[in-house]
């Protein structure tokens, strides 16, 4: 009887374990299937590179949205990467223990704040600051709802990702290695530069790529501060319309205009593929790093 239970349970669990693998396929399949309608009419490159977005006329050029995503993501990375890495190095190599113990949970807390709350805060503080203070400083006019605001909010959202992974990477560098460098008369900073960062380079790259992939897919927070105007941004003070925001904003109209839903599903597919690519790249780097260490 017990053996029968064991066998049944095993069969059931096997079946369930197949779900994740299946799910990936189903997602890709589903999105591809839904995109076929619009791909039948226009070629993929036409959709990707056209800037003309007029759904009522049947024009679904995705280029402004791709560019919008790119601008906001790059802005976010430029802000987030140096700050995150410097913070991780400080916490790992310089900070006294109580600072480190105190800061780590705070960073995790930052990771737990829901996206919509970031958006609210962005509207509250970032948008007015950029619009009324920062833009005039650079002689630009901006409503505040722009690439820069999106970049700032997004950057803060990915701080925890990069910091957390980097801290883990640094902790795998053996202390004896640091001691070896210090014994040669190097300063702590030189030790960090030549030993810790070098040893952890691949891990840090993976951390950054993970942050990048998170930035690409983030929807609600960015949507609330970025302006959502379907035109190519010319400067960081211009509004933008990233892909996730496009999908989220228009699900209402999607069913009433022909081909709109198919276009949005295509956008979702593009998003999925890009994010998948970055995730796989990060994993690949990490696996290579692990193999090298053996």
């Amino acid at each position: 009887m017990r053996l029968l239970k064991d066998l049944l349970a095993r069969r059931l669990m096997l079946f369930l374990t197949a779900v994740p693998g299946l799910l990936v396929f189903l997602m890709l399949l589903g999105l591809v299937q839904k995109s076929r309608a619009i791909l039948a009419l226009k070629s993929f490159s036409q959709l990707l590179f056209s800037s003309s977005w007029h759904p009522l006329r049947g024009e679904f050029g995705l280029f402004p949205f791709l560019m919008g995503t790119l601008w906001v993501t790059v802005a976010a990375m430029i802000i987030a990467v140096p700050i995150s890495l410097l913070t991780a190095v400080y916490l790992s190599e310089y900070a006294p223990r109580f600072v480190r113990e105190f800061a780590k949970p705070m960073v995790d807390l930052l990771a737990g704040i829901p996206s919509v709350v970031y958006g609210v805060w962005g509207v509250l503080m970032v948008v007015p600051f950029v619009g009324k203070t920062l833009a005039p400083l650079f002689g630009a006019y901006s409503s505040g709802y722009c690439v820069l605001s999106g970049g700032v909010v997004l950057a803060i959202m990915i701080f925890p990702t990069i910091i957390h992974v980097s801290l883990e990477v640094f902790s795998t560098v053996p202390n004896e290695l640091r001691e070896a460098s210090l014994s040669l008369g190097a300063t702590q900073w030189e030790t960090v530069k030549h030993v810790v960062l070098r040893k952890g380079l691949q891990g840090i790259t993976a951390a950054v790529v993970l942050g990048l992939s998170r930035a690409f897919g983030e929807t609600i927070a960015v949507l609330m501060v970025v302006g959502n105007v379907p035109k190519l941004p010319q400067s960081i003070f211009d509004p933008a319309y990233p892909l996730p925001a496009l999908i989220a904003n228009n699900y209402g109209e999607m069913m009433s205009i022909p081909l709109y839903d198919s276009a949005l599903m295509l956008a979702a597919l593009v998003l999925l593929v890009v994010v998948l690519f970055f995730n796989l790249a990060a994993r690949f780097i990490l696996v290579r790093a692990e193999r090298k260490a053996e």
């Binding site: 197949a18 799910l23 410097l86 916490l91 800061a103 704040i113 829901p114 996206s115 919509v116 709350v117």
Partner: protein, 286 residues
Amino acid sequence: MMNLRRRKIEERIFRFFMVTSTVIVLGSLLLIIGAVVVKSLPALKLSMITQTPKGGYYLGKEGGILNAIVGSLYLAGGATLLSFLLSLPIVVFLNVYAKKSSAFATWTRFSLDVLWGVPSIVYGAFGFIIMMFFGLRASLLAGIITVALLELPIMTRAMDEVVRLVPGSLKDASYSLGATKLETAFHVVVRQSLPGIMTAVLIALGRGIGDAASVIFTAGFTDNIPTSLLQPAATLPLAIFYQLGTPFPEVQQRAYASAAVLTLIILAISLGSRLLVGRFAKHRIK
């Protein structure tokens, strides 16, 4: 000796940048929580959490966000449960039944990693496709399914990390007493990793309850508390979003209050997970 001075100056400069960066990171946390809390105070009345929106709520009239609070709890609760019913068997299978190097196990773990990185809006879009396929309307059920899928990789990965740590020797000890794999799985492995499993569930719950992009297509929105799975459900993240989007400052204030409520709920979940870990750790073998 000039060389030494240059080296020291370089160190000092970078140290300054490092401390500044850390201050920026920690400061933004304080700024975000602080600003939301401060802005929410005027609108934080008991009626906010005990009443549903009355007529004209979004124009500034009476009511509260009880619809969204209950809706979120139903939705995230249901989704987390559904996800748990999938995660636990998967993790048990991967760690007790499957061979370590089996291609199936590797492929599954790989898929979970892939799914972990998929943006929530894509889950929303996929959820929508499922809805269309089964003829479901925007409802609590559709939301539950979508968020369950979103939570699945998060919960499974966190659980797997903990269950993996159960030493093979412990499992072997159980087998040598004649226990089947099933019995070993639940009486030994799960019990040993119980705190970690609970943490995994709570982490996923926290993520699920705070996500907007996955429910925007699938759960709908309503001023009422859903009484059946097929009715649309309001969720806190969307309630915040919609309230903020109105031109009325009183309603926008309520958005901040709602944001404070959501953040509080998530902090409570996070705190709860830490406490639970402490209480349930007594069964563990160190």
